[in-house]
Structures are given as C-alpha cells and as structure tokens.
C-alpha cells in the first residue's frame, strides 16, 4: 500500500497556498499536457508546414509576385491574426471546460486567476509563434530589412496577445464565443479601424495594422486629417487591451460557476 511520502508532503502538504511561480508552472503543465497530446494539433502543424512550403515553392517558381507576397504578408497581420485568434482563443479555457480536460487543473491548488492568465498567454504564444513563422517566411522571400522583420515580430506578439485575450473574454461570457468574436471583429473592430476618421484609434485592428505596416482604409473622401497611430502608440494600446482582457478573464473565471465540470 501507499504510505505518505515526506518528499511529497514537503511540496504539497499543509501549505495554505503555493507560490505564484509554482502556480504558473502548474497552469502551464495543465495547458501543454492535453495540447501536445491532441492529434488535432499535429494535423494543424502538418497543414501549416504544407502551406508554408507551398508559398515558398510558388514564390521560387515566380507564380507569386513580390506584390502578391507583400499583400499576403499584410493579410497575415490583419485579418490573419485576429481571425486565427478567434479560432484559437477557445483553447485557453472554453475547450477545457466543454471537453472537461480542465477538471484536473481546477481540482488542483493553482488559483483560477493564474490558470486563466497563464492559459491565455500560452494560447497567445502558440498563435504568435505560428504567425511569426509565416511572417518570417515572407520577409525571407521579400528580402526585407531586419528592422522591418523585428517590427513584424512585435506585431505578431502583441497582436496575438491582445486578440487571444480579448476573444477569450467573449468565450467565457458566451458559449458561442467564436460567433461573438467574429461578429465583434467584423462589425466593430475591423470596420471602425478601416474608417479614415479619428475614431479608428478605438480599434485594436487599426493599431495592429499600423504596427504591421498595413495602413489601408476605406476609400472615403475626408476633408480633415484623421488622428494617426504610430508603432509605439500601437504597441502600448495592444498591450493595454491584452492586460485589461487578461484581468477580466481572470476575474470572470474566478467567479464563474462551472456546472459543466461537476
């Protein structure tokens, strides 16, 4: 039979709580375990690799022109990152709730706020790595400057974080988080961001486009100069959006009764 293990008791026994770093470590283990074991992720990796290879081959064969490559790069930033975030943000918490893989993590000692925050950030990391890889391929094919590449990496990082966090809140508020995310992006965020008016400063996608050097707007004739963002302001806004959304996710998740799990 199993007898109490002093080594284990020292780690888990009798403590009123655990350190924040330990909680983050636990939350990370809870996230990566099911993700790395999921066959869907392996299929996604194969598909993504195939897509990258196709772009390289089409570019080398001159089927894709430099202009088309530039357009594809811009589309990767917006709407690519927000749309992928709408799909992936489900992974942070909602998937775990509906598939009950979150149950063991919830029954462990890591606080819910840490679980929510860590899982959101890790989901964003997945998206950021994916989009950064794609953007890097475009930069290599376009032979763009290092500074331009670095700015795109920043766009991939903060854009992924902001949108995964933002849509993660919607996934917690409603079971139809994907539809709500797409609706929010299409009807409010993207549409306002494309207007040649100062109100576009309220749209995260506008800031992401500025950071990702894709500053298109609807061709509406305007008589006054609309306020503009710049890479620094765009970074600050997107980080702020991410911070507020992660805070809200933590608060919502901590207070949420989860009947799906018991």
């Amino acid at each position: 039979m199993l007898h109490p293990d002093p080594a284990t008791q020292a780690v888990t026994g009798g403590s009123a709580g655990i350190g924040r770093l330990d909680a983050i470590r636990i939350a990370s283990a809870g996230f990566w375990g099911p993700v790395t074991a999921a066959r869907a992720l392996r299929r996604l990796l194969v598909l993504a690799s195939g897509f990258l290879a196709l772009i390289v081959v089409l570019s080398v064969l001159n089927i894709l022109s430099r202009g088309e490559l530039r357009d594809l790069r811009e589309l990767t930033v917006v709407p690519g990152i927000p749309l992928a975030a709408a799909l992936l943000s489900e992974m942070a918490l909602r998937d775990g709730i509906t598939q009950r893989t979150l149950l063991y993590a919830l029954l462990g000692p890591a606080p819910r706020t840490v679980l929510a925050g860590t899982r959101t950030v890790l989901t964003a990391v997945l998206l950021a790595v994916g989009s950064a890889t794609l953007l890097t391929v475009f930069h290599l094919l376009l032979r763009a400057s290092f500074a331009s590449w670095a700015q795109d990496m920043l766009a991939a990082a903060v854009g992924s974080l902001a949108y995964v966090a933002l849509f993660g809140v919607l996934h917690l508020l409603t079971k139809r988080g994907l539809i709500a995310s797409l609706a929010l992006f299409a009807t409010f965020d993207w549409a306002i961001g494309m207007l040649p008016f100062s109100i576009r400063l309220l749209s995260p996608s506008y800031h992401l486009r500025v950071l990702g050097k894709a500053p298109h707007a609807f061709p509406i004739p305007v008589f006054t100069e609309a306020a503009k963002s710049n890479p620094f302001l765009a970074t600050v806004v997107l980080v702020l959006v991410a911070a507020i959304a992660i805070y809200m996710t933590g608060r919502l998740f901590a207070r949420k009764n989860l009947p799906e799990l018991c």
Partner: protein, 327 residues
C-alpha cells in the same frame, strides 16, 4: 494527517446551491467524522454538486461548508492541495500512457516533473498496475482506467480522497478488487468520501453515510445506527420466555418486554422477548436470568435491518417530509 479520528472533517450547515437557476442542494446540514463516508443518493440527488461544493469548485449561495476544519470557499485552494479527487466526469488524459496520465495529475498538484513521475510509479505499484502502465490509456479496460484514475488522485499523497462513482462500469470481481484497494487506503489513515449509488459499495467501505434525496439530507450518521434503528435492541425466541423472565431482566437493569410474533393474517405464532443490550455485560446478565428461570433460547438476534431496507425507509421518510413541506 490532520483529518484525525473522531474529529469532524466535513461540516455542512444549511447549504443551498442552485445550478442554472434550479435548486440542487437545499438546506444540507451534516457533521461527519467517519474514516470512510458514503455519499449515497439516486442519480440527480446532488452528489456531484456537493462534491463540487466541498472542493470549492461550485459555490453555495447560502450556508457554511468546512472541510478538514477549513472554511470554504476561502480555503478552497488548501482543501484542494490536501485532497485527491477521482472525478467520474474526468476522462484519463488522452493520448498518453498510464504513467504519463498519473504524472500529469501529480504535476497539476504541484509536484515537479521528475518527482511526479517517481510518485506516479509508486502509486501505480501500490495499486497493482504492472507493465500496463506504459500502454496508451485509450486501450485500457474499464478496470484499468479506474485504477489509473485512482492513482491519479493518489499521486500527491493526499490526506483526503474524494471518489466519485469509482466502481462504475466494473464487474463484481473488479468492483471488490478496487474497493479492497480503497479500503486499504482508508486503513492507512486517509479519510475517504465515496460518492456512489451502489449501496453494497458503501456498505463494504464506509462507517458513516450521508444520504441525499432530491438535494436534501435524508440521513447523516453512522452506518451502524442506520441498520440498527433499535440501537442495541435484541430479540430472543424460545421456550419459557415469559413475564417472570421479563421482570427479572427489569430487576437486573435491562429494558425488556414481551412481543407477539404474528403471521400476515394476524394470528400469533410465538412469543418473543425484546431487550436492550449495550454490550457484553448486558448479554451476560441476560444469559444469567435465562439460566435462573430454566428458559430455553433457540434464537437470539440483533434487531437490525438490511442496509437497503434501511436506506429505502429513510428515503421514503425524506420524500414524505419533502411533500409535506411543499404542500
């Protein structure tokens, strides 16, 4: 181990909990201190909801909950650190081997990866899982899955084990095997809460029981009291057990009376003697009186009922009370 003998480790006081606007637990109050407590009720009685509340995963709208002396939900994290949970709803971590799954559970309870792996092997050894631990869990039999889930709940050496329907889907032999393992864990000093709707499982393992009927407490207390409503009442049958014997027993300090055993139609078939015995001393006194009167006892038995009958009786009572309360 702080969940010590005799000390209540589950305390519920007027707990109300609604889910999706529907009340699931209604005024649940109980103080339980058993080594192994059976949480018994029909499907939908509120067992899983109560477990969720005991772990702080679900929040009660009203009432007080204390587990191991810790108030919930304030100390939910500490309760969860000190408890191991085998949840009916949770599947085994997909895609990995048994030992991966158990180590994963250990990591989620704060163990470093290497330590979790060491503890996983230890827990699987203790539960008699051999080389199968290296096979993918997808191909496990129900019995092996349940053992693996039990190992997952044990990996971090919890003081308290909360087991939600651990024997579901097992054949009788597998059920006894798993219950015997769990009983061994209880004998080591761990406190166990066994949620089940199989009374035999609870009878095999538990010394206390919390019976839930439609979200209310039908019974909370020792199993012995449940099956022995007469609290030490004994029935003797035989020759010469008459009023003189009863008087002698009363004089000896034993509460005794004569009863008539009747057929269904009401005709008396025999006379029997009922008396209260609180231990060996009372029994010795009884036998001394019987011998003095030259009576012949052919049958002496405790006035107990089967657990199933006892549970049905209290459940019926709870249902009646519930109906009375509503009307």
């Amino acid at each position: 181990m702080s969940a010590s003998n005799g000390k209540p480790w589950i305390e519920l006081d007027g707990v109300d909990l609604a889910r999706g606007g529907r009340p699931v637990l209604r005024g649940v109050s109980a103080t339980l201190s058993g080594r192994a407590i059976g949480l018994v009720g029909a499907n939908g009685a509120g067992k899983s909801t109560l477990i969720g509340a005991l772990l702080g995963v679900l929040r009660a709208q009203r009432g007080r909950i204390r587990v191991m002396g810790l108030e919930l939900p304030q100390h939910a994290l500490e309760v969860r650190t000190r408890a191991g949970v085998m949840a009916e709803q949770a599947g085994i971590f997909p895609g990995g081997s048994g030992v991966d799954a158990v180590a994963y559970a250990g990591q989620l309870n704060g163990l470093p990866r290497r330590e979790a792996l060491r503890r996983a092997h230890r827990a699987l050894d203790a539960l008699g899982v051999g080389e199968e631990r290296y096979r993918a869990t997808d191909g496990y039999s129900t019995g092996m899955r349940q053992r693996c889930k039990l190992a997952m709940s044990l990996c971090h050496d919890p003081e308290v084990l909360i087991l939600d329907e651990p024997t579901v889907g097992l054949d009788p032999a597998g059920r006894i095997q798993l219950l015997t393992l769990i009983r061994g864990l209880a004998e080591e000093g761990r406190r166990i809460l066994l949620s089940t709707h199989v009374l035999h499982d609870a009878e095999f393992l538990c010394d206390e029981m919390l019976l839930l009927e439609s979200g209310t407490v039908a019974y909370a207390g020792p199993v012995a009291t449940l099956v022995d409503p007469g609290a030490g009442s004994m029935i003797a049958e035989g020759e010469g057990l008459d009023l003189a014997v009863v008087e002698s027993l009363l004089a000896a300090g034993l509460d005794a009376r004569l009863e008539e055993a009747r057929t269904r139609t009401g005709s008396v078939t025999a006379t029997r003697l009922r008396f209260l015995s609180h231990g060996d001393t009372d029994l010795t006194r009884f036998w001394a009186v019987v011998a003095r009167h030259g009576a012949e006892v052919r049958r002496l038995r405790r006035d107990s009922v089967s657990l199933e009958d006892a549970v049905l009786t209290v459940m019926d009572g709870a249902r009646e009370r519930s109906r009375g309360g509503r009307s």
